[in-house]
Subunit: 452 residues, 2 copies
Amino acid sequence: MKKVLNYVDQNYQRFLTDLETLIRQPSVAAKNEGMRECAQLVAKMMEETGVKAELLEVADAFPIVYGEIQSKKNPDRTVLFYDHYDVQPAEPLELWETPPFEPSVREGKMFGRGVADNKGNLVSRLKLVESWLKTKGDVPCNFKFLVEGEEEISSLHLEQYFEQYSDKFRCDGVVWEFGGVDEEDRPTITLGVKGILYVELEARGPVRDVHSANAAIVDNPAWRLVRALDTLKDQKDHILIPGWYKDVKPFTKEELKYLRAEPLHEKAIKEELGIKSFIGGMKGLEAKKALAGKPTCTICGLVSGWTGPRIKTVLPSKALAKVDFRLVLAQKPKALLGRLKKHLRAKGYGDIIVRELGMEEAARTSPSDPFVKAALEGAKQEYAKPPVVSISSAGTGPMYLFTNILRAPCVCIGVGYPYTRGHSPNENIRIQDFVKATKWMARTIHNFAKMK
Amino acid sequence: MKKVLNYVDQNYQRFLTDLETLIRQPSVAAKNEGMRECAQLVAKMMEETGVKAELLEVADAFPIVYGEIQSKKNPDRTVLFYDHYDVQPAEPLELWETPPFEPSVREGKMFGRGVADNKGNLVSRLKLVESWLKTKGDVPCNFKFLVEGEEEISSLHLEQYFEQYSDKFRCDGVVWEFGGVDEEDRPTITLGVKGILYVELEARGPVRDVHSANAAIVDNPAWRLVRALDTLKDQKDHILIPGWYKDVKPFTKEELKYLRAEPLHEKAIKEELGIKSFIGGMKGLEAKKALAGKPTCTICGLVSGWTGPRIKTVLPSKALAKVDFRLVLAQKPKALLGRLKKHLRAKGYGDIIVRELGMEEAARTSPSDPFVKAALEGAKQEYAKPPVVSISSAGTGPMYLFTNILRAPCVCIGVGYPYTRGHSPNENIRIQDFVKATKWMARTIHNFAKMK
């Protein structure tokens, strides 16, 4: 084990050079930019590491880069790494201090689109395989890599990939794509994610944008959209769609125990976001409960008519909103989509077009699972401070496919820290985190590989 | 007079070539595109026609192209043509059948941005001067041309120009920038315009767009904007800002007489706009009253967060709405801006930034004014069908500067027809209208010049 850890310490600069190569290849799924090129680059990196790589395909989807390496000594235990090579759009570009696809190292941090979410973790994990092979000539258990290209667009086809390739994906434990340390450098293990229902709402008016003098007699789709949106939530952030909370269960005693123990760096978060308070002035446990278990409804985007400078006096032809509903355990996105449509009809907005752009269920793994214990043990070995357990991320991923369908436990361990600015300009990781997280992962795998 | 009319008939093809030259020069005030180049081109065209031209300037404004020509025989009467060389942005470009700044003639129509609003009228009026000079060696009265560059952005500095140059602008009658025939080719004279208050409302949230997982605890400016907007109007299109209708007066008997007589081609309008009915199913006189005299509140634009394709899970940093309030006679934009701000504060949205982008009062000229009579007489001489009087356009312009400050009557006569698609893609005029309207103008001036 020591040789592996030393190898990481001695070679991490070279690992980071490969990470820079990967960042330089844009891979924006939402814009279909550089996707196949990036998939091929990831496959090439796998092969160079000693992992057998192939591109899996289903119709109209970005390919999955799938990799496998068998352990000679321990072929009965398999860990699967779930990562993704797609990244969020880099806009607004003017807010980046250095160009998003030209990685830049400053003050011990590497900046670039995807460096945290999720190319940093992918490279850390691939390089771990190399570290084992170069020092031991074998890996401690079988590894599988499932690196998809649609994570940032709600893993549109992952369910289809699971139907077609589920045998390939079987494993004894899944390492999730994100993870890291908290504000006080405590290693954090996250055991669940929220679900999502992402829709586009479109109201239509005249066949083209027309002179706004017509407003005296012509209905305005922007007004219809605004009014329809305003029926979805009340002022207290409570979703008004009938039955929305029907399947939501209260936290268990065990969950509440972990929530209480989990730190929340409220002041730091507020400073980072530039806000004075959380919604309704919430604090402490209430905020933690909201992050882990509150269903949300978010306007992610709005567009209608003239959005340029100064004045254009038009009555818009259409108005569009992108709305993201985060879901909690047991909420079923498909059923809720039906409730949303029914609600709009009932409120008189049946003409508004509802386009479903993505659906994922929430997922959670039990804190008492052996894989979780291996990860906690690894954290204690690597870090000075004790690990933190988070029962659920406020974010979303297709974890339910692994936990609910393959029945494999899933842990989130990674190279991140709270201010990576994932999805935002100036996304970054700290290089020290990259090195320590790679070693934490080595220890976790080492612990898990030898468990009976 | 007959010589002048013949000259128009014999030379209109050449007039249209000059109009094409003017359209080819983009002049989008909202985007500061080609503005000075266009002003210089207009001045050059004036000089070539025999009108003495100069650029008037005030700080931070697009220049006014000002032109003058004195009548030798009749130097005591002056008609001022108010036109503008700026045009609306051409977007959305993909809906144009031919490029907006490459004029194209098809089926007796000329297409191009600004061909109707307002370059067609400007060229028609300049060429009228030429027609007189070439046939008579003199003009029937003095002419002034006030061609501004900010009409499409609410004539931002015209009031300032009036403070500085009001002596230049004095006249006995103003011909307004727009006008034309109606759906049944009846010449239409419009005697007023609505006012406007154009504002930008901006709600602010976190310092940058952040991951929408934060929605559990972080307020979303797009929601705040939607909620604030939804307090401005009720479902019946009634503005809810206290005191908004305080100064609004009912129509006079004379106004109602003209409104009743004015045709409204409801079916044709609906077909053109691609809509099934007007707001609340209104019809006939009710719709005409709304167009001429209803204060409106229009969302002209909305933008926030991710507006591209597919999915981006962000909580936006800010949300922006462009809102246009059309005002009627006696409503004061400045006072109403104060009422809007007070309303937002009272509703708990005092944090929303209100930026005033343009203000103009409404204006009307009496149907019994001699200048109006000259125009009606001219219409009867030129057209087979009797003229229609419209007491007010549903649109807006800075007419109050002429009617309320210079105390000059103002008539709207021009080359347009109902489907010019002003402010929209495929803006066009019919060539037959260009020719007839130029002659109608000649007759109007001729009639007015000899009145005592």
